[in-house]
């Protein structure tokens, strides 16, 4: 019941509403003590069975329910073999390169007599056909060590990457050392026209002729 005379006072309430304190929901103060979640209480042992129907279905004791079986973790393969790739490399090297000759021949970081980038090399394969070329790079990768050869055959550049420990490789011969000291390990700039060595067939043919004269046609294996 609002009298017409009290109408102007009625708007005062609406003004006051803005200053009302917020409702006390989700309010937590520093003084609020943290309480642990209450633990689940087991059902009383001597509960009469007629009360069971009052308990929600998921809390009722189930005689058929069995605890989950926990299996032990399988034995760790990592513990059995610490360095599997190293082990495979070693076992393969023992088969493919028992004397370590090939490894020494391409270990250009340690062996000063090894093949080096920039050398001209002649590779003979098992099926008999050779491939000659300048060594552009040697990739030392354990059993997958390979070297990249570049040559020009019938005025077409041909590059071939050969695996050092491949059983298909019969022999690798150094035909000519690079004439100047190479400061780089990867001579990919030799693909440019300016630095291209072009064909090395003549040099290799010369070498083969000399070798035949020297050895009397024998085929020396390195």
């Amino acid at each position: 019941m609002a009298l017409p005379a009290m109408r102007p006072l009625g708007c005062l309430w609406s003004l006051m509403r803005a200053y009302e304190p917020l409702p006390m929901i989700n309010r937590r103060f520093i003084s609020t003590a943290y309480s642990k979640r209450p633990e689940k209480l087991p059902l009383p042992q001597d509960m009469p069975p007629q009360f069971l129907s009052q308990i929600p279905l998921r809390f009722r004791p189930d005689p058929d329910r069995q605890p989950l079986k926990i299996y032990p973790a399988p034995p760790s393969a990592r513990k059995a073999c610490k360095d599997p790739i190293g082990a495979v490399t070693e076992s393969q090297l023992a088969v493919l390169d028992p004397k370590g000759e090939r490894k020494a021949m391409f270990d250009y970081r340690r062996n000063p007599r090894s093949v080096k980038p920039g050398d001209i090399v002649r590779v003979t394969f098992k099926n008999g056909d050779p491939f000659n070329g300048v060594v552009l790079s040697i990739k030392l990768r354990g059993i997958e060590t390979s070297f990249l050869l570049r040559n020009e055959l019938t005025r077409v550049a041909v590059e071939m990457s050969v695996k050092v420990f491949s059983p298909n490789v019969n022999s690798v011969e150094i035909v000519q050392r690079s004439e100047k000291k190479r400061r780089r390990a990867r001579l990919y700039f030799m693909r440019d026209r300016k630095h291209d060595r072009r064909s090395v067939e003549n040099i290799v043919a010369n070498y083969v002729r000399q070798k035949k004269a020297f050895l009397g046609g024998g085929n020396r294996r390195r």
Partner: protein, 153 residues
């Protein structure tokens, strides 16, 4: 990696010097010299993947440039040309610039992309070839091309 619009040099004496690939036959991926088929057990419920990989190195090309292409179209050399500019022919890829892995792990890369023109039955149109070709052709029954080629790598 020969695909649509790739320009290849033609290394036989059929008369074409530069050709353009317009289609790769029997293959859903760019043509190459061709991998040798690697035998693997067939996957259950699928076709053999390796069959797709070793399917083909045959392409369809358009002759873009003729050998001895000049104003004198009536010279003997031009008459000897078996194909003309604008002809659509089949070809076999013999060199690719993209490196190719052999079954023994070695890689081969050529300086250019090249092909040899063949007719529909697979016989080379030219009678002579100049230039090195890939050895992969051996597995692919292109021995005719291999015997014509001066060098194979």
């Amino acid at each position: 990696m020969i695909q649509l619009k790739t320009l290849l040099s033609c290394i036989d004496n059929s008369g074409a010097s530069i050709v353009e690939c317009v289609n790769v036959l029997k293959k859903k991926r760019p043509a190459t010299i061709g991998q040798s088929p690697i035998q693997s057990p067939p996957l259950r419920g699928r076709t053999r993947i390796n069959q797709m990989l070793c399917a083909g190195d045959r392409i369809v090309v358009v002759v873009q440039k003729q050998r001895s292409a000049g104003s004198e179209a009536t010279t003997a050399a031009a008459l000897a040309n078996k194909v003309r500019r604008g002809d659509i022919r089949h070809a076999v890829v013999v060199r690719v610039k993209k490196e190719l892995q052999r079954p023994d792990g070695s890689l081969v890369r050529f300086g250019d992309n090249a092909c040899v023109l063949v007719n529909k039955s697979g016989d080379p149109i030219g009678t002579r070839m100049n230039g090195v070709v890939g050895q992969e052709l051996r597995n692919k029954k292109w021995s005719k091309i291999l015997s014509l080629a001066p060098v194979h790598v």
